[in-house]
């Protein structure tokens, strides 16, 4: 992971009982938005993400995901020409981290409180020191945006490159934009139904705030 101070909970937002779990309350400042009509399927975004941040070319751990939609679109393999991707209508949907508002599914599912908010963008990032590599976060994200790096045995996700995303800079067709955060969680259809469970201690924290 890149360097920089990792703040587990910020002054304004993160709610934590004494010694209790981290709950992210702050909203992110920015996010990457994508225009599928402009995507040319070159995957330079995936490569910039991992080469310039991790020193290796590795679409599997890229925090923007193109490859899985490249050929047949988000719905997998079509039977005819009705799908997306190069084999369908040509559209390549870029999968991007929504930098979810509270409650943040990946963070809430983490048994080690390893997904935290990091200024200046307030991106939700993996604190690799705390990450145990259990992959619970991957089961929590409806958009399958959590990656797992088998080289480091840690989870990884989009951290907005601290405000100047490499993927945006790398796109040769200007299909990506770094923009002010807005809530896309209700707009982008989930890829999977999450199967992660919230740990009892966290559930308790939820109930403390959301008293009936």
């Amino acid at each position: 992971m890149t360097g920089g101070l990792i703040i587990a909970f910020s002054a304004s937002g993160a709610k934590a009982a004494k010694e209790g779990p981290v709950i992210i309350m702050d909203q992110a400042e920015g996010l990457v938005i994508a225009d599928p009509t402009k995507c040319v399927g070159c995957r330079r975004c995936e490569l910039a993400c991992t080469e310039f941040n991790d020193g290796k070319a590795s679409p599997t751990i890229a925090r923007i995901k193109i490859s899985r939609n490249l050929n047949f679109g988000v719905n997998g393999i079509p039977t005819g020409q009705r799908g997306g991707g190069a084999w369908g209508n040509g559209l390549v949907i870029q999968d991007i981290c929504n930098q979810c508002p509270h409650p943040v599914p990946c963070a809430n599912a983490c048994p080690n409180d390893a997904i935290v908010v990091r200024p200046p963008t307030n991106a939700r990032v993996v604190d690799s020191k705390r990450c145990s590599g259990c992959k619970m976060c991957r089961r929590a994200c409806p958009w399958e945006m959590m990656s797992f790096d088998s080289g480091t045995n840690k989870a990884t996700k989009c951290f907005l490159c601290d405000g100047s995303p490499k993927c945006v800079e790398a796109c040769p067709s200007g299909a990506l934009t770094y923009a002010a955060w807005r809530d896309l969680t209700g707009k982008i259809p989930p890829r999977v139904a999450p199967t992660a469970i919230v740990a009892p201690e966290k559930a308790q924290t939820c109930n403390e705030c959301h008293k009936k």
């Binding site: 402009k38 070159c42 080469e51 190069a86 080289g151 040769p172 067709s173 200007g174």
Partner: protein, 701 residues
């Protein structure tokens, strides 16, 4: 993790006869040959005896990629496939086909720098490569299916990310004019039948690993940005096709097609390609539209977007949407390809009712792509279609084919430029139905022999562009005078070299080209303006050597020689210089093995020399000058009978070309009389054992 960055570290070897699957350490065994064609030539030299034929089980196929494949280095998407070439006539010699797409990167992520296929399966199989899990699978259900159906079914098993390189019916039926294809539209010609002869329907690759960059990641990022800044449009054309505010130069022949008002009309909503000022790296992908370049303005309204290989910002494949073809021909309204693949269908016809750039021409392209890229038929750089026109209009088909068969084709449709004719022709080529189609599927050399037509007729015909060994010229005297001629003498198929033509066609004024040429090859006289050629000089020989070595280097590193080298750029502040060291800078940082430009060129020379040695060994001849490095007669003629070196002709002069070959052999330190490399040259480049082997066979000069 491999010791070096760049390489995956392993070469996969699959014996289809025994089912044995094994791996080798890339660097231990192939380090001196980098990757790609380097590994290919090495395997063929070491393991395939002279005299083996293309479709023998003893022939091998090497799918090779290099240390830059799968990285973010621009233009690294090509897989080099080396084998004994089935359309090389009169006997098969070593050659390579090159496919783009996603295959090269996926192979690296799976952990391999190459796949060596040997033997022959006793029933149809496909190879599944899923990271370290490699399996030979039953392909009996896939046999007889087209490339698209095959790919879909393999993707159903391996997931949507897998890259599938498959053959169609043409390859299965051992038509030498057949391809292997991956990622919908990326093919390597000539290889389909060799795969078919091994009962190998396809290779599916899924890789979840990574390619490590050995160097400092900030330095890598800087280098990538430098390289991106030097890119032009497709074929490294560095000026736009019309005057634009930011551009000092423009050229109507440029593939830099983007301009305000030219839109991807079938995108929804449509997208203006607009100004693509070179410093704006977020607009590189709009520069090229090869459909518009080849098919004219009408293609803009049908353009959905550009497509292409992994990591390449130049999208040379154009995705077209032509709704009319769906009802008219019963084919999908979307199609994509580039260059001769795009023109596959159109090129058969002499004319169309609405002209060469009308709607019917576009529809012929759509039908051609639909059929050829599914059946897996190869066109040998357009020679198939040039031959077809000549054989029909000269009445040869009528003479050579039985009347009943001849009349089974709708020749009236053909003459009228009706694309439905392709439905009669292409499936028959793939299925070897009848004499006409079977002969076409053999490739030019074998076709001429089968029908008793002297090759000489083809060698003399200016329009057919035929060169030798069953293959056409590929960027010869029309592009770079003597330098182009030299390059076209060297390979066992069409030369596929673009190092020289990407320079001469870059669109810069001749004075700028000459200034750059002086820096690169020692004198402005290394290049001439097109069709204003001057007599041979040593600098042209230097340029020829440089062109060949860079082509070979690109084929080993996995850089695209259809884009590189990058010695000219669109940047005025650099006085349009590119960077002659970009390959070595990328190689050094990616692998951690620091090599200068000269050191890397020396390795490329070794690899090119091994190709030469293989050609000599398998021909069993050392007199390459007269037996191999031949030049067709049309090169020395002019349609208006203009004299060589007069302005307005690409005609070459026989004595001058003799001198050109002398100078080239000298530059290579080969024997001038025979054109064979000397023992000292083999030794200097680390191929002493190769020289010894050739000496045993009496094949040293």
């Amino acid at each position: 993790m491999a010791k070096h960055g760049g390489w995956a570290g392993k070469v996969l070897r699959v014996d289809l006869s025994t089912g044995k699957i094994s791996t080798e350490d890339t660097l231990e065994k192939y380090r001196d040959y980098l990757g790609g064609t380097g590994i290919g030539y090495k395997v063929i030299w070491d393991e395939v005896q002279a005299g083996v034929k293309s479709f023998d089980p003893a022939n091998k196929i090497v799918y090779g990629v290099g240390p830059l494949a799968g990285t973010g280095a621009p233009c690294n998407g090509r897989t080099a496939i080396t084998t004994l070439w089935p359309t090389c006539w009169p006997k098969a010699l070593v050659a390579s086909g090159h496919m783009g797409g996603q295959f090269a990167a996926e192979l690296k992520y799976a952990g391999y720098d190459a796949i060596i296929i040997e033997g022959r399966a006793d029933r149809p199989v496909w190879l599944s490569v899923w990271d370290e899990k490699v399996e030979i699978k039953d392909a009996r259900q896939l046999w007889g299916q087209g490339i698209r159906r095959t790919t879909i079914e393999i993707n159903q098993q391996m997931g949507p990310e897998a890259s599938v390189a498959a053959i169609g019916q043409a390859g299965e039926n051992l038509a030498p004019m057949s391809v292997v294809m991956n990622s919908y539209s990326h093919s390597a010609g000539g290889v389909g039948g060799v795969m078919g002869s091994k009962n190998l329907k396809a290779i599916g690759v899924r890789g979840t690993g990574s390619v490590r960059i050995a160097g400092n990641k900030e330095e890598w990022e800087k280098l990538i940005k430098l390289h991106l800044s030097l890119l032009g449009a497709n074929n490294q054309h560095v000026v736009p096709s019309n005057p634009q505010p930011w551009a000092e130069h423009y050229n109507a022949g440029s593939r830099w097609m983007a301009s305000a008002g030219r839109r991807w009309g079938a995108a929804n909503p449509s997208i203006d390609t607009g100004a693509c000022e070179p410093h704006n790296l977020n607009r590189i992908a709009y520069r090229t539209n090869n459909a518009a370049y080849f098919l004219g303005d009408k293609a803009w309204q049908h353009t959905v977007r550009g497509n292409g290989c992994t990591a390449c910002p130049i999208r040379c494949h154009t995705m077209l949407k032509v709704p009319a073809v769906s009802a008219k021909y019963g084919i999908p309204e979307l199609g994509q390809n580039t260059c001769v693949g795009l023109l596959f269908g159109r090129a058969f016809f002499k004319s169309f009712p609405d002209g060469p750039k009308g709607q019917t021409a576009i529809e012929a392209c759509m039908v051609g792509m639909y059929l050829a890229d599914d059946l897996g038929v190869w066109d040998n750089y357009g020679q198939l279609q040039r031959d077809f026109q000549a054989l029909y209009y000269n009445g040869i088909f009528k003479r050579k084919v039985a009347e009943k068969e001849f009349n089974s084709y709708s020749w009236n449709k053909y003459e009228q430029g009706d694309p439905t004719f392709l439905f009669e022709l292409l499936p028959r080529i793939a299925n070897k139905e009848g004499e006409l189609a079977t002969a076409l599927g053999l490739g030019t050399g074998h076709l001429l022999e089968r029908w008793g037509i002297p090759e000489q007729e083809w060698l003399e015909n200016h329009d057919l562009l035929y060169w030798k060994l069953g293959h056409p010229k590929h960027h010869s005297n029309e592009d770079a005078g003597q330098c182009g001629v030299i390059i076209n003498t060297q390979y066992n198929r069409d030369a596929q070299c673009h190092s020289h033509s990407n320079f001469t066609r870059n669109g810069l004024p001749i004075e700028v080209q000459k200034r750059l040429a002086a820096e690169l090859w020692g004198s402005p006289d290394a290049v001439d303006a097109v069709a204003a050629f001057t007599p041979m000089n040593a600098h042209k020989a230097k340029m020829a050597k440089w062109s060949l070595l860079r082509k070979e280097l690109h084929d080993c590193l996995s850089l695209c020689n259809w884009m590189g080298p990058w010695v000219a750029s669109p940047l005025k502040e650099r006085e349009y210089r590119g960077d002659d060291s970009i390959e070595s800078l990328l190689y050094s940082l990616a692998t951690g093995d620091k090599k200068s430009r000269q050191e890397l060129d020396t390795i490329a020379e070794r690899i090119f020399l091994l190709h030469r040695a293989l050609t000599i060994r398998d021909m069993g001849a050392k007199d390459m000058r007269t037996k191999h490095d031949t030049i067709p007669d049309w090169v020395f003629t002019d349609p208006k009978d203009k004299a060589a070196f007069s302005k307005g002709t690409i005609r070459m002069d026989k004595e001058d070309i003799k001198l050109a070959m002398d100078m080239f052999y000298e530059e290579m330190a080969w024997d001038k009389e025979t054109g064979s490399p000397t023992k000292a040259t083999y030794r200097r480049l680390g191929l002493g054992t190769v020289a010894d082997e050739l000496a045993k066979r009496g094949l040293l000069p």
